[in-house]
Symmetry: C2
Subunit: 335 residues, 2 copies
């Protein structure tokens, strides 16, 4: 991002609200920045956006190879054809290690990426999930403020990334490929418990019989899970789709809207959003406190004291107390 | 703990070093206290203890019913008979919820608890693992300073407690009961990866054949695990014991010492201790920063801002920024 000390936040907020894609892209770059001046600008920007605008936030998880990009392309194009504006964001904590994100790759969503009603943003490159999470959640808020109707938040099943995405999504979809009888063992119990709908993709051609079996297996497994208060009868559910043949996507959309309507009527929708907002506020506070450890000065002191502790010259607790005292002293010496 | 403003830390440190059990118990109560003046005294006390004294720190995990107390009683008495001083500490994050710790229960270690060469301390009651962890690690340091030769750190397989205990142990033992062929599925992969030795207990009477099968199963599973640099040939290993009949305990002790000797010769021993000390230093720093959120004033502000965020009046990031600013201001107003 080009440094711009004269960046007019009020102007940027206005252009984001009008749905200008370049302004939105720039705003997301701002929330993704690690610089403290950018961070302050991002906070101001987010606070200027209208709080009443709400997109339908859909979390989507699936391991590489299940056809996530094809699903997003087909599903997104269907929504765009209905007159909806669709944003696609990716949360991928592993993207730096794997040498660049494969998620949200525009070249793999060719039609959608060229559609004026769509906006696709790859995962910010980051080494730790916490940073990716905060930035992604703020990017979701920016897309809402820009007037998008649907925000798809895509992730791979790496570590805790699904749990983090579930904390910013209204509805969570798990995409799976047809497989043999052992398939159920490969899916973590945690992800089964947060999924609202499990979609068995590639239910076409030779794979259709396997897809039917896999779908029946998951439908059975979902019935065995403990019932959650926020689920109407029949949910969570397992369904078959073919993203390639664009088959079953309308049924997914219809069932997703039924689920939304029910949760809104029963009050679960607003309660979940309120809980999520509170969660992110508390995360921001914690991360803000811990950010004091990230300055070059603090890193140097941590390294130096860490070596003393490792060598056995100082007890861990005494070194920590000394560090915290020096930190609060350097705080009070600020103007 | 009785409040004592005139507590002489230098005197307490001296008596702990002499191995006075009442002084040690009092010192542990001090490190377990949540009061900030006690915390400062605990830090001073830990720093006064000789850094050169080292006990053999043995982590021990096993689900309820595998015979942990019986094992500790028999194993501990064997060590005491060899002239060694043995301390037993428990790490049990669930102890408050279950209405009091069952770990380190002196009534279940009748002979050991009455032996002058032994010291048994139940888990501090705490609601979160982080607090239990820090206090337990400092209790280990106190036992080392008091001249104990062996510190057994006992835990149940609840959540992350084994990982935490592994960060304060030199050698980690997993105690299991004989079982049917499905047993292997019940043990979390994580614990298999940190265990240095797996002990199949109750290898006596009718259960001996089942114990042999279970032992063979685990020996096979351990061979499939990725080799760790800090393991000599043949480790991690699975062995049979009978704590009740005091059978196989000498073999465990011999193998444990072989493992220690090898790791000391190869330099892994000191390196692991240095890494652990650095880890606890960093944990102490993080927890010290986050402790600012635990004051009544901070809790009140968090609650109030959290409600504003939940109601949608303020963005999470803006509320967090406001909170952090007020926190640093209240810091600078300190004398």
């Amino acid at each position: 991002m080009k440094t711009d000390h004269n960046l007019d936040i009020a102007d940027l907020a206005e252009r984001v609200q009008k749905g200008e894609r370049r302004a939105l892209a720039r705003a997301i770059t701002l929330v993704e920045s690690a610089r403290s001046d950018h961070k302050a600008q991002a906070v101001a920007l987010l606070d200027l956006l209208p709080k009443a605008r709400q997109a339908l936030r859909i979390g989507l998880s699936g391991t590489p190879g299940v056809g996530k990009s094809t699903f997003i392309e087909s599903f997104g194009m269907m929504l765009v054809a209905q007159g909806l504006k669709v944003a696609v964001l990716a949360v991928d904590p592993s993207s730096t290690r794997s040498g660049g994100s494969i998620l949200g790759d525009k070249t793999r969503m060719d039609r959608l990426s060229r559609d004026p009603a769509a906006f696709i943003r790859p995962s910010p490159s980051q080494t730790h999930l916490g940073g990716v999470a905060r930035r992604s959640r703020e990017a979701v808020a920016l897309c809402e403020g820009a007037g998008f109707d649907v925000v798809l938040i895509e992730t791979v099943g790496v570590g805790q990334s699904e749990t983090v995405v579930a904390q910013m999504a209204d509805i969570f979809l798990l995409l799976l490929a047809p497989a043999g009888g052992d398939e159920l063992q490969g899916v973590k119990r945690g992800i089964m418990e947060i999924a609202d709908m499990i979609l068995i993709n590639k239910a076409d051609g030779d794979l259709k019989p396997a897809a039917m079996r896999t779908c029946a297996d998951y439908a059975g497994a979902l019935r065995l899970l403990r019932k959650r208060a926020q689920d109407p009868p029949g949910y969570p559910k397992a369904m078959m789709v073919s993203a390639l043949q664009e088959d079953g996507l309308d049924a997914v959309w219809a069932d997703l809207n039924s689920l939304r309507d029910w949760r809104q009527e029963q009050g679960f929708w607003e309660r979940t959003r309120a809980d999520q907002a509170r969660y992110w506020f508390e995360q921001d506070v914690r991360n803000g406190l811990l950010a004091q450890l990230e300055t070059p000065q603090a890193r140097g002191a941590l390294m130096r004291l860490g070596e003393e502790v490792a060598a056995g010259h100082t007890a861990p607790a005494a070194a920590a107390a000394a560090f915290l005292t020096s930190l609060s002293k350097s705080d009070t010496s600020k103007p």
